[in-house]
Amino acid sequence: MTEIVSLRPLLAVGAGLAVVLPILLSGRRPALREGWTFLAGAVQLGAALSMLPAALAGAAHVSPALPLLPGMPLQFRADPLGLLFLTLSSILWLATSSYSVGYLRSLGLKHQTGYFAAFAAAVAAAAGVALAANLLTFLIAYEVLTLATWPLVVHKRTSGVLGSGRSYLAYTLIAGQLLLGAVVWAGTLAPGAQFTPGGFLAGAASDGVLRVLFVLLLVGVGSKAAVFPLHGWLPAAMVAPTPVSALLHAVAVVKAGAFGVLRLTGWVFGPDLMHDLGLSLPLALLAAGTILMASLRALGEDHFKRRLAYSTISQLSYIVLGGAIGTPLALAGAAFHIVAHGFLKITLFFCAGSVYAATGREHISQLGGLGRAMPFTFAAFGVGALGMAGVPLLPGFISKWNLALGALDDHQVWVVAVLVLSGLLNLAYYLPILRVAVFEPGDRRDVGEPSAWLVAPPVFAALAAIVLGLNPDAGARFWSLAESAAQSVAAHAPEFLTGGLP
């Protein structure tokens, strides 16, 4: 892969960081303050799109390396997978920001300045995770992401909320320290620890050492991805304001964890080494278990946002599953699922937030009648729900289809069964929400659509999802990115191209 040294990756990562201070300083002028956010989002998106053609042509924009540690610089590289995540997060950041404006104002929440500043820092950190060229840079961005989201999670500042924040930090920071240890270890075994398609650790140490290292790294990134049994913090973190939950799930934290798992399996160890070490199957089983377990938990959950949270746990394990299988199609499906889940889940959260902002209701059983009072919101919700379940013509179908094909390439028939079963479970816990909202009677006096700030984002996200479902390569060319990321990994493992494994 040819490398183009340029400042664009730095621009993409730095845009969010650069506006943190201006946001803090313009706290008394909300319009200016939000202006900074949109400016940074636009800059980030522009930088991401400007790097697209090169990435699809097999080249990559690389930032100048800042030497931090011997052989391990701070460096950003815009490879296809990173660009996929970066583009997604900047689009969704813009959507979330406009939604946040409406949400915070309509609920009159306090600490709005700190909220927007932390939001910008969190998205910048997510961009850093996306473009990290090596494990050290990844780790740095990862830790910054943890800390930047903490104020967002505990935004309400009550003691219960602070307790949830503590549990969030306990999971993510402890995992971060394990990740630190693992990164040091990997850096000692393979100097530089630079993400390489197909992995860089093969032959660097004995099998036993590599297995231990894999477990450490997996715990490090998996806790953010909420892989069972490290998922405990995610439902607890639902105490955050809804736009924050949307950010955590669709853009930044959980998604960064899932992205990290993909990086780990495809770019640190590589499918080859994973198979040789016998790690693929256990990881796939773990992911499948998480998918089913979380779906079952979602069925029994009446709290609207917590049901969405369990859904996220379940959906993100598709990505882990794809990384574990490691065939090109599975990887492409997993990478595309980052995008698909991003658009769909943010739609769902926006809808949940709009309901709360308009009515103050948080539980599914209270939704009766709202479907007719808030037609746009619930139409968008319907799109998201069906997409999650993998209904064709929506993006969730594309990722799951490719995952299934990839699994069959690897002769893992059981995966298809898991996918089908989970799709059914998805329908089982999403459709009742629609049923309650549309068909059950309820008190809908004085209830209507909230302000346009709150309606436009979910509708936009739902429309985008439909477009992506019809043409996954539309706009930001997400499918091409996912495919070329998967091909780059596969290019280093030739036997997978044919799909044949012993």
Partner: protein
Amino acid sequence: MRDVLPGLLVALPLVGAALVPLLAALFRRTTRAAALALHAAIFAAALGLFWSAAVAGPIRYAVGGWPGPWGIELWFDGLSTLIAVLVAGMACFASFAQTFGPDPDRTAPGSTPLREGLLRGALLLLVGGLLGIVATRDVFNLFVFLEISSLAAYTLVASGGGRSTVAAFRYLLAGTAAGSLYLFGVGFLYALTGTLNMDDLAARLPSVEADAALTVAVVLIAVGLSIKAALFPLHGWLPDTYVYTPTPAAGFIAAVMAKVSAYALLRLLGEVLAGTDAGAVVLEIMIWLGVAGVVAGGVLAVAQRAVTRMLAWSSISAMGMILIGVGMGSALAITGALFHMAAHALAKGCLFFGAGGIRALEDGDEVDRWAGLGSRAPWTLAALTVAGLSMIGIPPTAGFFSKYYLLSASITAGGPAGIAAFAAIILSSLLATVYFLRVLEAAWFRAPAEAERASSAAPAGPVLPRPLALPVVGLALLIVLTGIFARPFERHVLPDWETGTARIAAEAP
């Protein structure tokens, strides 16, 4: 410049230590400007030496014109000048903070120009003692300057009155025992080799055949300096001393004092005595004691309710980490140890200035007193947050990088000691997470209790007076800059160290 700066670096603090009290006694006016100018000059000299040693190689300086081993030599390589810059730089902040009035213990005598001058003189003396230790190439001269720094430190500790005098006395007993043990060890070395010069010692020690005597010498020196460096389990003096010392001095003492002793340990055990069998064994033991200190310090820090006492225990943990690096002795480990000295000095200085000031102004030291400070003084608290994150080891603060080096060194070293060190460092980060985030959470996200708010004299506005706020914010900036831009510094510190040890290894038969 290379002919003048070494002399100035050691002479200026002593001149200042006499000049500032003299001015105060003669004119009975504040001596702030004079003291600040002196500290700035010392810092400039240290920086100049650092730069000069980096560009043109280490400097050997024969005080009085008498070359070693007859006279006393000073030695400025990347290592010693780095520590000198650290000490002199922290002293600038401490001198600025000395303008801060209230002592933590209300029984302390009030401030007058004369008393202020005396305290500023004591700080200059402390700096002079520490710089003398850093610069010297003579084992007895090291003892003399160790005692200067100790006496000046006892003075600063006791200046809080009340409880601080008891803490100072206990510190004095421990410090004097440490000095005497060290001096006894020097006596053994002198009896065996007839020399006090470090280079000469390193050259003559390999031909010494008295193993038992040499072992006694190494152990005495190691134990003596380990007491000063607060190596577990010889740390008993540290918590009370750090807690009861008045804030400006505490920021300085907690930041650099134990570290200079760790530097002396590194010089003597890692370089001069490295060729002896006993030295190797002692270094190995030091790793294990460091591991124990890292864990014990962290656990006890979690158990504290008062913020400054928590910081004191976390210092014991940090010193354990530094001594792990000293004990391992590889290039990576030494880098980690040096880096951690710098990172921890900056962070601990920042935190003690901040926590001490808050303790004095809020009239209490418990974590609860910090509730709501974040909205009252966001900038100060942001700075303290950076320092806390550096203590935990969150990138991109300096503390992350030092931990990275030490972890890397542990992995490379391997063996039971390496694995134990690796695990202990990770564990200490987790413990630090627990005890620092507790404070940060209170400061940022908890509202003060209503009763507190009613009694609080200043509900809005800065929490810290400017003499403390400026060092706190300045140090926080330095923590981040050090983390990101330390590679160039490390690049010339290490080669000096490696050629130094290689030279000594080559001279051994």
